[in-house]
Structure formats: structure tokens, C-alpha cells
Amino acid sequence: MAFLAGPAKRLHIVIAALAVLFLMAGAARAQWLSLPLPGTPRTPDGKPNLTAPAPKTPDGKPDLSGIWHTEDNRYVDNIAGERVDVPMLPSAAALYKHRQETLGADKPQLHCMPHGVPDAMLVSGLPFKIVQTPRETIVLFEEFNQYRQIFTDGRKLPEDPNPAWLGYSVAKWEGDAFVTDVAGFKEGTWLDNGGHPHTDALHLIERYRRPNFGNLELEVAVTDPGSYPKPWKSATIHFKLLPDTELLEHLCENEKDAEHLQISSGKQ
């Protein structure tokens, strides 16, 4: 640039300064919440192409990996679907009625206890990350830093396991659907914030499909002879990809809601 002089040199300096500012602004954004992740298909303007085909693993299976969330809370209010009533056994119906009448005041999360399967994935403001590997698929939930391991190495579900909040999960592929088999639950979780209950006899079959890069779908088949007279299915739950971002730590370190709850009826 030494050979430039006068206005041309000044123009170059201005351009260089603008370029530095632009790069600095990029660096400020490119931290944790907003960063261009490799492997993301992009439109010509550089934005993630959410309608691109779903990625595949080297063995040709769909790759479900990514950070996902629901766009609203309709599924976590009722996984069966809006205004859908699920037939229940009398004991489950009484518990559900109590939870509805008390506006969810006994909800485990208000005591810093976790959501379960599937509702840990259904709170719109709390995304989850799927990491798919050949032998296991790991789900990292932002809420309370929980995780779930779904084994695809051919093992069977454990017999008479120690009951667990998120159960025990194995899975296999059926065409383009990732189909889990989940059991070994503790009674503590609710199936949704609406309060659909379950016993430790709960058995879930989840079917995940990724129709394209930006969308993931889930249907859950619920069997629990301790709560429901017959198996039933959730609504088709739609998740959206959160591109170019990361999860954040979320521990329940400052819970203050429980003391202010106004319970309108029931046990307390």
C-alpha cells in the first residue's frame, strides 16, 4: 500500500478499519450462543438451510444429531394433543384430576426434580441436543443438565433394574425411523405438565424421524397397565432445529417458586 497516496490511501485505511471492526463484531457474536457450526448446509446468503435434506451417517442412516426444541408448549401441556382425553384407570384419573385442579403445583420441577420421557424434550425454552454415534445416541437436556443414553449396540433392556427417572433406553432403526424401547421408570415423573401419570410399569416406544435438516418428529406409544386400560399414542410432536448455537448450563440453584404457590384444592 506504500505506493498509494492521498485520498486513495485514506480510503484504503478506512476500508481496512471497517474490515477490522466487522471482524471484531463477528468475533463478539461468534462465541457460544451464535457461532457457525460446520456441517450445516447453507443458502447462498450464508444462513442455515433448514429445508436441506437430513444428514446421513456413513452407514446411510439418518443422523438425528443437533440441538432441538419445540416452538410452543402445546405438547408439554398434553402430549396426547390439545383437548384430547386419554382413557385412564380410576386411580390414574383421580391423580390427573388432582394435578389439573391444583394447577400443577406438585410438579417435580418446582422441587428441582427432572422432567421425564418424553416431556424433558417438550419445554420450548429449554432445548436438548442429540449426539448420535454408532453404538449409542446421547441426549443432553439443557434443563438441570440431565442426559439420557439410548443404546443401539444390540443389548436388551435390563431385567428388574433399579427404577430411574428417565428409565433405560435401547433403540433400533426401522427404515428411516429411530425406534426406542424405554422401560425401568421410577414413578416420580409426569408424562407432561398437564399431569398424565404413570407407574413403574410404564413402557414407551418412541419413533423419531428427521424429514429434513431443520425438522424432527416424534410419536410416543404409551403402555402402562398401572394407569391406562389400553396403550395410547401421543400427538405427532414437532421439533425445530436451533442452528449455529450451543446448550448452556442450567442447574436448579435458586428455586423460589414453591413458597408462593397457591394450591386451589387437594392434598396440601
Partner: protein, 131 residues
């Protein structure tokens, strides 16, 4: 420009979230959507913690009596995604807040929108209350 965008995003988010806030069981067990309040006060404490952030304001009533109120907002994570940082509120800042009062009558409310008096910047406090 970015602030204007943040305000627009916040406003749209508030509109979108109104339904789910009302529908949320834990929200309705604690706060009353029929008791909105809009007040101005001075920040005395800001707890940037999960599962919910809280800030506290000294608020003067018509008689000049000062009371300290606690305002709940969403998790730090959700606020970060809506343009907040842990330094957005400082002790001594004057802010106005739109909120819904707790049903138990205590000096506690769920904040929806916080406006920084010094800059006029509006920030969405609870894009989505469900948890």
C-alpha cells in the same frame, strides 16, 4: 440497529408467549394473569441464577412509603438468548417493569417486560414461562 431489532424481537416474543404463559400450570398456581402491574423502582439486587432470575426493586407508593418487591424472570439461559447479560441490571438502576402479581399477596411478581429508564431499552423478561 441491534437494539431496535432486540426490541422488535422482544415485542413479538411477548405477543407469542402471552397464550402459553396463561396456559402454564405452574405460572397460574403462583401468579395471577388478571393482576397486571406496571411500576418503576430502583434495583436493590439482581440474582442471575437458574432456574429463574430474580431482581428486587425499592418501589415508592403514593404516600412515599418504600417497599421492596421481588420480580421473577426466566432462566439466565433464556434471557441470554433474548439479549440480556448478567450486567444488564445494576444496583441503583431505575427501571420500569410490567409484571403479574403473585396470588399469595406477597411483594412478588412475574416480570414480562423491563425498561431501563436511562436508555429506554426494553427487554423481554419471560419469553416463555413453562418449565
Amino acid at each position: 440497529m441491534r437494539k431496535t431489532l432486540a426490541v422488535c424481537v422482544a415485542a413479538i416474543g411477548l405477543l407469542l408467549s402471552a397464550g402459553s404463559v396463561v396456559a402454564h400450570h405452574a405460572f397460574t398456581a403462583e401468579f395471577d394473569a388478571a393482576k397486571p402491574m406496571k411500576v418503576t423502582g430502583t434495583v436493590t439486587k439482581f440474582e442471575w441464577t437458574n432456574p429463574h432470575t430474580w431482581f428486587y426493586l425499592d418501589i415508592k407508593d403514593d404516600d412515599g412509603t418504600v417497599a421492596n418487591w421481588g420480580f421473577e424472570m426466566n432462566s439466565p439461559n433464556q434471557l441470554l438468548r433474548n439479549g440480556w447479560t448478567r450486567n444488564t441490571l445494576k444496583i441503583g438502576d431505575v427501571v420500569s417493569v410490567e409484571a403479574f402479581r403473585a396470588k399469595d399477596g406477597s411483594h412478588v411478581a412475574n416480570a414480562k417486560v423491563v425498561t431501563l429508564t436511562s436508555t429506554g431499552q426494553k427487554l423481554l423478561a419471560a419469553p416463555n414461562q413453562a418449565q
